[in-house]
């Protein structure tokens, strides 16, 4: 097995970003994944959370604002190459419409979901699709009315002949619509919406780039806006495919089903990792490792015994709040974070893992994404931002 310049462990947002950044710098990159990563379950919008007034152990303190800005710039490059335009910047958030009709504010937003012009629109058409599950146009309209009480709402139901067969998800509809956009475009035309109106639809405009959206939008005067949806989520799938396209074009080696079980180390260097398959182990040598295996939800952190969280590959020290009383916050929807969610690996400003005394454990191992501890990324809405910014930094060090 040839030695890789960089091995990225994990194929979620952080792993794909790190691999893309490393490949763009002419590195020989290998990605090892176990499971397809959570992008197909994600909204496609990237939230950064707050970048100001952060405690010293917060991941952003190690990543730095410069890497955040550069990461956003690189992210735009990747998505543009896949015809998946994004809008927004870190300093000003843009609204997107959720599947239930609330507004959610994000930093980097797929252009197809950008709802920042809604206030200037005259009439909102909310379009439901016959047979599509988990999308309720009237509920969406009722909730959105709370934000826009003075607007006119019209609910439309479109039949794309999806019935027959399984219950149709947004992903199914998006796949069926790909290269077959015209029936949908015709239905939207029939709404007779003007250029001052908005047509709000579930995210069904294809699963690769904005090709289907381009076909439909060029025929419709009103702005078409996609909402978020339950998984599997086409905007998340589009983002995953944009990264995969970038990796394929850069010659990155991408190995699925490849569960890394431990590292090979030599002092403070990691010289390779070991993948365990059904019958034997295989060594993948590397000069540098990026750990992007995620948090509890992805198996990047595990906890068999209470108070003993583990990082299973390198057995890195894992930060977690001491004392069971600090572990969880009984008020799930309160304005306080969940202690257990701050569990993760602490690093120096090169994203090298450190122990409780601040000693660097491995200087060519960089920890990125949801592996990082010290903040509740869900509460802060910073998971996406931390993922791409730490990945960018880890890949450029």
């Amino acid at each position: 097995m040839k030695t890789s310049d960089v091995i990225v462990i994990g194929g979620g947002l952080a792993g794909l970003m790190a691999a893309s950044v490393a490949a763009s710098r002419k590195q020989k990159v290998t990605v090892l994944t176990y499971g397809s990563g959570s992008l197909p379950l994600a909204s496609g919008a990237i939230d950064f959370g707050s970048l100001e007034n952060l405690p010293a152990h917060h991941p952003y303190k190690k990543i730095g604002l410069k890497a955040c800005d550069e990461a956003a710039k690189f992210f735009y490059e990747v998505t543009e190459q896949a015809n998946l335009p994004y809008v927004g910047k870190l300093s000003a958030l843009l609204p997107i419409v959720t599947a239930v009709g609330t507004l959610k504010y994000s930093a980097l937003v797929p252009e197809s979901m950008n709802a920042s012009n809604l206030a200037n629109k005259k009439k909102f058409f909310i379009v439901g699709i016959n047979g599509l599950k988990d999308f309720y146009a009237s509920m969406l309209a009722n909730n959105l009315k709370k934000y826009f009480p003075n607007k006119t709402f019209e609910i439309a139901k479109i039949d794309l002949h999806l019935l027959g067969g399984r219950d149709i998800t947004c992903m199914d509809a998006a796949q069926l619509l790909t290269d077959n956009e015209q029936p949908f475009a015709n239905e939207l035309k029939a709404l007779k919406a003007s250029k001052d109106d908005a047509i709000i639809i579930p995210p069904i405009l294809g699963v690769a780039g904005d090709f289907s959206r381009d076909v439909v939008q060029t025929q419709i005067r009103a702005q078409i806006i996609e909402t978020t949806c339950l998984p599997p989520s086409p905007p998340g799938i589009r983002l995953q495919r944009a990264f995969m396209k970038y990796l394929q074009a850069s010659g990155v080696r991408f190995f699925e089903n490849s569960k890394v079980v431990r590292g090979i180390t030599d002092g403070k260097k990691v010289t390779g990792v070991i993948v365990e398959n059904a019958v034997r182990e295989k060594i993948f040598p590397a000069r540098k490792i990026i750990l992007a295996t995620g948090g509890f939800y992805s198996g990047g952190l595990t906890m068999r015994d209470f108070d003993q969280p583990r990082e299973p590959i390198f057995d890195l020290p894992v930060f977690f709040p001491t004392g069971a009383e600090n572990w969880s916050n009984m008020q799930l929807f309160s304005d306080k974070p969940q202690g257990f969610s701050t569990t993760g690996i602490l690093t120096n400003d090169k994203l090298n893992p450190i122990d409780a005394d601040g000693n660097v454990l491995f200087d060519n191992l960089h920890v990125v994404g949801a592996n990082l501890g010290g903040c509740d990324k869900i509460f802060e809405r910073s998971a996406g931002g931390i993922a791409i910014a730490s990945a960018y930094k880890g890949a450029t060090l």
Binding site: M1, G35, S36, G37, S38, R166, F255, E256, K282, S298
Partner: protein
């Protein structure tokens, strides 16, 4: 290892839908309810009460769902176990019987003088007359032609240098009956690396076509037979190597997932994919790198069943080191999945899944298409009129 038995993995499902987002059959048609609902969800229910999920028969066992799963659920094998349950109470179609028993058919035909020639003729006439279609086999396809002499019969006439280092070649049905030249190439490569190749006539079909068609009891008989042989070779310290990636996946992993006993895992540790084995020689410094430079551009379609094995891409590495320029097709599943695409009612789905790969191959910016899997090669040939070869054939050319 008992926790890798498929039936124990269903409870790990979080219903995250990653498998659905990666299922090529779901992307092609809306009749299939998808791996999540059919595999882990329904797969656990039907053992407690009789309940049939009809769309189960759409699963092609390509294992894209298994590779997408973050929790190690053996989704496709759960589907295959349910399929076997289904056929306990339902008759097999004639076409299913035929497609599952390719090895039996070949053996019958070999007993008739000039049987292979006549059956090849019969297959082309049969195709022209629509006989296959009437039997439930996709009439659009050519059935794979039989080689004049199966590899196992021709094997003894191959002159090999004797060596203390030996491997047993598990040919698999397709190499034995249809493409013995792949077996010849394997022997040439192994000889060049100082190994003498043995074959074991007691091996049966790995059972993959039986498993996907719901003949689980028969598959179990094949499994018991094959692993007894593999364990025998293991005792003699002789590895069993196969160039067929579906055979190797069945021997290494699926037997154990399906049947659960430790002996399947124990036998599996003596089984290697051909290029996996060559790469191990390389790592031990025992690989013969005295190769004629391969100035070829190769397009590599990586079979699903190789991706599932988590052994990297040793064929790409080795051929690149021999000077070839290897590009990955990166176009997903080819759609044929063993005998799936040969079924009349699955033909269209199979071709729809393969469309992306066909479009990539038709760009024809290479000298040859390479692929380790026999049925993938048939599908690419059928969809593009460009005939792919096994990567071991390319490597064999590099040894003078």
């Amino acid at each position: 290892m008992s926790d890798t038995k498929a039936i124990f993995t269903g409870d790990r499902c979080l219903s995250c839908t990653s498998c659905m987002a990666n299922c090529p059959v779901m992307a092609a048609i809306k009749d299939y309810r998808g791996p999540k609902l059919v595999g882990p969800a329904h797969g656990r229910m039907h053992f407690s009460q009789e309940d049939i999920e009809e769309s189960l028969n759409y699963c092609s066992n390509c294992k894209s769902c298994d590779r997408a799963c973050p929790s190690g659920v053996a989704i496709s094998t759960l589907n295959m176990l349910q399929r076997a349950e289904y056929y306990k109470k339902h008759e097999h179609l004639r076409s299913e019987d035929m497609l599952a028993h390719g090895e039996r058919m070949a053996n019958l035909i070999r007993k008739i003088p000039f049987g292979a020639t006549f059956s090849n003729l019969g297959m082309s006439i049969g195709k022209a007359l629509g006989v296959f279609s009437a039997l439930g086999i996709a009439g659009e396809r050519n059935m794979p032609a039989y080689a004049a002499t199966p590899f196992k019969d021709a094997f003894n006439s191959i002159k090999q240098p004797a060596s203390a280092k030996k491997v047993v070649l598990f040919t698999g049905c397709y190499i034995n009956d249809n493409e013995p030249h792949v077996g010849n190439a394997f022997v040439k490569v192994m000889n060049a690396n100082g190994y003498e190749v043995l074959i074991d006539k007691q091996f049966k079909c790995c059972g993959s076509p039986l498993v996907v068609t719901g003949y689980l009891d028969e598959a179990r008989q094949h499994a018991d037979n094959n692993i007894a042989r593999i364990l025998d070779w293991k005792q003699k310290n002789i590895p069993v190597v196969t160039p067929c990636t579906s055979c190797s996946l069945m021997l290494k992993e699926e037997y154990h997932e399906l049947f659960g006993e430790d002996k399947f895992h124990e036998a599996a540790t003596n089984v290697y994919d051909a290029f996996e084995f060559l790469e191990m020689l390389q790592e031990r410094g025992e690989f013969n790198d005295n190769l004629k430079p391969l100035n070829q551009r190769l397009l590599y379609h990586v079979p699903c069943h190789l991706k599932s094995q988590a052994i990297g891409l040793p064929a790409q590495d080795i051929l690149e080191e021999a000077g070839a320029n290897v590009n990955l097709a990166d176009s997903g599943c080819c759609g044929i999945s063993g005998n799936y695409g040969f079924r009349k009612e699955k033909y269209e789905i199979s071709m729809k899944i393969g469309a992306k790969l066909f479009a990539r191959v038709k760009q024809h910016d290479f000298d040859k298409v390479i692929c380790d899997c026999g049925t993938c090669r048939m599908q690419i040939h059928h969809g593009t009129d460009i005939k792919p070869v096994h990567p071991i054939e390319i490597l064999a050319q590099a040894y003078q």
